[in-house]
C-alpha cells in the first residue's frame, strides 16, 4: 500500500519505496515477485536504451535524441498497469515505450535515425506514433478512448506529456473533452520540472499540476515519479476507474530532469548543477534496485544478467537498424494518400532520372 511523502510546502506525493533508513519500504498489493522483476527488467531495458542512445548519437549513428534518463520509473510503472489492448500515446520523451510492448529496439533507433523503418503500425502494438508537437496528442487519446467506449470495448488509453505541455491549449481541450465524455483515459504528466530551459515556476502559477484536474471535473493524483511502484499503483487505480466507466484521471508524476533536454541542449546556462547531482543520487533505477535488494528479490547475478540482456538487445538493435537498406526516394511520395494523385508518379520519375537511378 502506498504511503505518503510530505514534501514541504507542497501537496502530498504518493510513495512506496523507502529510503533504507528513516522511511520504511511499503508494498503494492497484488504485485508478486514476478511482477517486481518484470518492472525491473523494463526499467533496465529503458535505461540501457537511453544510455546507449546518447553514445550512438555521439558516434553519429543516430540523430538528435531526447534523453529520458530518470524517467524510466514513470514509463515502466505506468505501462505495466495496462493491458495489451490499452493504447499508449507517447511524446518524444517516451520514444522507446514501445519496447515494453515488444517493439524491436531497431524500430525506435530507426526513428531517431530518420529512417522509415522507425515508423511503425500503431495497430501492431496499440502504441500511437511519437508525438513531436507538444500536447497535441492529448485530444487524440481522448478521442480514441471515447471511441472505444462508444464501441462498447473495455480498453483505455494513456497519454504521456510533460509539465510544459499543460500550458498548451491542446492539452486543455483534450482533457476537457475526456472529462465531458467520461472517456477511459489516463492523463499522465511527466513533471520533470523543466520544459527545455523553462522551469515549472515560469510555466504555471498553480501550486501543483494535479490541481488542474479539478477544472476538468476529474481526480488528480500526485506520485513520486522516481518511485516505480507508486507510479504503478496510481496508474492501476486510474485504469480501474477508467474501466469502471468513471472517466479520466490526471496523474502528476513528479521527478526531475537530470540530463539535457536532448542531445542538442546544453543546460549549464540555466540549470543548477548541484541540484542535478542531488537528483541523480535519487534516480529511479537505483532506488528500485535498492528496494528489490532490501526485499531480497534481486541478486547480483540477476541484476547482471538483466543488464547483459538489455545490453545485448541494444547491440543487436543498432546493428539491425544500421543494416536497414537505405530508404528509397520513392517513399517521399508514398502514404500521403490512400490513392496518390496521378502527378506523383511523374514527379517521382523525373526525380529518379535526375538522381541517375
Amino acid at each position: 500500500m502506498a504511503q505518503t511523502l510530505r514534501v514541504p510546502g507542497s501537496h502530498d506525493l504518493r510513495r512506496v519505496i523507502g529510503d533504507g533508513e528513516a522511511i520504511p519500504d511499503g508494498e503494492v498489493e497484488g504485485l508478486e515477485e514476478r511482477d517486481l522483476l518484470e518492472l525491473y527488467r523494463s526499467m533496465v531495458l529503458l535505461r540501457t536504451y537511453d544510455e546507449r542512445s546518447v553514445v550512438f548519437h555521439r558516434q553519429g549513428r543516430i540523430g538528435t535524441y531526447a534523453i529520458f534518463w530518470n524517467h524510466e520509473a514513470m514509463q515502466a510503472g505506468s505501462a505495466y498497469a495496462l493491458e495489451r489492448e490499452d493504447w499508449i500515446f507517447p511524446s518524444y520523451r517516451e520514444s522507446a515505450i514501445g519496447l515494453l510492448r515488444g517493439m524491436p529496439v531497431s524500430t525506435v533507433l530507426s526513428w531517431w535515425r530518420g529512417h522509415p523503418a522507425g515508423w511503425w503500425n500503431p495497430l501492431d502494438y496499440n502504441v500511437a506514433s511519437i508525438c513531436v508537437p507538444i500536447g497535441t496528442h492529448v485530444p487524440h487519446a481522448a478521442g480514441l478512448a471515447w471511441g472505444k467506449k462508444l464501441r462498447g470495448e473495455s480498453s483505455c488509453a494513456v497519454a504521456y506529456f510533460g509539465d510544459g505541455a499543460t500550458s498548451e491549449g491542446s492539452f486543455h481541450e483534450g482533457a476537457n473533452f475526456a472529462g465531458v465524455m467520461r472517456a477511459p483515459l489516463i492523463l499522465f504528466c511527466n513533471n520533470n520540472q523543466w520544459a527545455i530551459s523553462t522551469p515549472l515556476s515560469a510555466q504555471t502559477a498553480a501550486e501543483t499540476l494535479a490541481d488542474k484536474a479539478v477544472g476538468y471535473g476529474i481526480p488528480g493524483v500526485r506520485v513520486d515519479g522516481c518511485d516505480v511502484l507508486a507510479v504503478f499503483e496510481a496508474t492501476r487505480d486510474a485504469v480501474a476507474r477508467a474501466r469502471a466507466g468513471e472517466g479520466p484521471t490526471f496523474i502528476e508524476a513528479v521527478s526531475y530532469r537530470t540530463a539535457p533536454h536532448a542531445t542538442a541542449d546544453d543546460p549549464r546556462a540555466y540549470i543548477d548543477l548541484e541540484r542535478v547531482e542531488e537528483e541523480k543520487r535519487r534516480e529511479c533505477l537505483g532506488r528500485y534496485e535498492a528496494y528489490l535488494r532490501r526485499a531480497g528479490v534481486l541478486s547480483d547475478e540477476l541484476a547482471e544478467s538483466t543488464r547483459a540482456e538489455a545490453a545485448e538487445a541494444l547491440r543487436s538493435g543498432i546493428a539491425a537498424a544500421e543494416e536497414e537498406p537505405p530508404a528509397d526516394v520513392g517513399l517521399v511520395f508514398e502514404h500521403a494518400y490512400a490513392a496518390p494523385p496521378a502527378s506523383f508518379a511523374a514527379e517521382l520519375a523525373e526525380l529518379r532520372e535526375l538522381l541517375g537511378e
Binding site: 511503425w120 471515447w146 502514404h335
Partner: protein
C-alpha cells in the same frame, strides 16, 4: 429526385450516409440538440442517437483532435466547424496531424474524417462569419478539399468525402444554403472527388470558379451571351484538382478568368493561374486574369458587396481578355 435547398441536400446526404454506415459519426458545436446553426444536421440526433450526433464542447482543436482518435478507434467522424473563421483554431491539428497521420503509419491506418463548414460572405453577418479559407486547406499536404456550388453536388461531394479513406475538407457556400434550390437525386448519390464540372459551355473564354463564385460566373457568362460564348468551369474539388478539365477548357478557349472570393495573394486562384502559366502557355491568347477578394480584412457588411467579386467585375475581366 426532389428539389432541395443546398442545406437540405447536405442534410439529406447525412441521413443517407449515417443510415448506410454505422461507423459514421457527426460531431461539432450545436450539431445535436439544435441540429446545427444552419440545420445541416437536423434530425440526426433523433434518428441515430446522441452518440452518433454529438454536441461537443466549444473547442475546435479538441474536436478535430478527438476526431483523429476516433478514426483510430474505427469511426468515420464528420466534424462541423460552425463558421469558416472559427475553423482556424483547428488548423494546427489539421496541418500537424490530420494531413500527416496516415503517412506516419506508413499507410497502415486510414483517417477517414471529414471537416465541413459554411464559408464565404454576403450574408450581412458580424465579423469573422464571412471568410473563404480554402487556400490554407489546399496548401496542406495529406488532405483533400471540395467545394460544391449546387445542391446536388453538395450532397454528392459530402457523400464522397464521408466515404473517402482520407481526410476531406468540405466548404459549403453559406450564402446559398437556403436561397439556392435544385434537383437532388434521392438515396445514395456520390460525386467523385477530383472531377470538375462544365457548368456552361462556350468556346471564346473560360471562367474558372468554385463554390459561391460559380453562380457569379454563370451570371457573367449569361450577361455576355450576346458578345461571346463563355464557358464556366466549376472546379468542385480543389485538391486533387482536375487539371485535365482545366487545361482542356482553356486549351479550347485560349482565355481564362479565374474567380475567387478569398483575398488575392497566395489564394487558390494563384494555383490555377500558375498551372496555366506552366502548361497552357501556347494555348493562351490573352493574359490570365484573376478576379478576387482584396488583400484586406473582410469588411463591415454594409460594404461587403464592394469586396466580393461581383458579376460586373467578372464581366469586365472577361471583356478585357476578349479584347486583348
Amino acid at each position: 429526385m426532389s428539389e432541395l435547398t443546398l442545406v437540405e441536400a447536405i442534410n439529406d446526404a447525412f441521413h443517407t450516409e449515417l443510415a448506410r454506415d454505422d461507423s459514421v459519426l457527426v460531431m461539432g458545436e450545436d450539431v445535436g440538440r439544435a441540429g446545427g446553426v444552419f440545420r445541416a444536421t437536423a434530425g440526426l440526433r433523433d434518428k441515430f442517437g446522441a452518440e452518433r450526433c454529438v454536441d461537443t464542447p466549444l473547442a475546435e482543436a479538441g474536436i478535430l483532435g478527438a476526431a483523429v482518435g476516433l478514426c483510430m478507434a474505427g469511426w468515420r467522424p464528420v466534424c462541423e466547424m460552425q463558421y469558416d473563421a472559427f475553423s482556424y483554431p483547428c488548423l494546427d491539428q489539421l496541418i500537424t496531424h490530420v494531413g500527416r497521420y496516415r503517412w506516419r503509419t506508413r499507410g497502415a491506418m486510414d483517417f477517414p474524417l471529414v471537416v465541413r463548414m459554411p464559408y464565404g460572405g454576403g450574408v450581412r453577418a458580424p465579423e469573422l462569419h464571412d471568410d473563404s479559407p480554402e487556400a490554407y486547406y489546399a496548401h496542406t499536404p495529406g488532405v483533400k478539399v471540395a467545394i460544391p456550388s449546387t445542391p446536388a453536388d453538395a450532397k454528392g461531394l459530402l457523400a464522397a468525402a464521408i466515404r473517402d479513406p482520407d481526410p476531406v475538407i468540405v466548404l459549403e457556400p453559406k450564402l446559398h444554403y437556403r436561397t439556392m434550390r435544385g434537383d437532388v437525386p434521392a438515396g445514395e448519390h456520390v460525386v467523385a472527388l477530383g472531377r470538375a464540372r462544365v457548368a456552361r459551355d462556350g468556346d471564346d473564354a473560360t471562367i474558372v470558379a468554385y463554390g459561391s463564385m460559380v453562380p457569379v460566373a454563370e451570371a457573367a457568362a449569361e450577361l455576355l451571351a450576346e458578345e461571346a460564348a463563355v464557358e464556366v468551369l466549376d472546379i468542385r474539388t480543389l485538391k486533387p484538382l482536375d487539371e485535365e478539365a482545366l487545361l482542356e477548357s482553356v486549351g479550347k478557349t485560349g482565355r481564362a478568368v479565374i474567380v475567387q472570393e478569398a483575398p488575392r495573394t497566395a489564394g487558390y486562384g494563384a494555383e490555377l493561374a500558375a498551372i496555366l502559366a506552366e502548361k497552357a502557355m501556347l494555348d493562351l491568347r490573352a493574359p490570365v486574369i484573376r478576379v478576387t477578394g482584396y488583400d484586406v480584412p473582410y469588411p463591415y457588411w454594409q460594404i461587403e458587396d464592394a469586396y466580393m467579386p461581383s458579376v460586373e467585375r467578372v464581366v469586365a475581366a472577361v471583356r478585357k481578355t476578349l479584347e486583348f
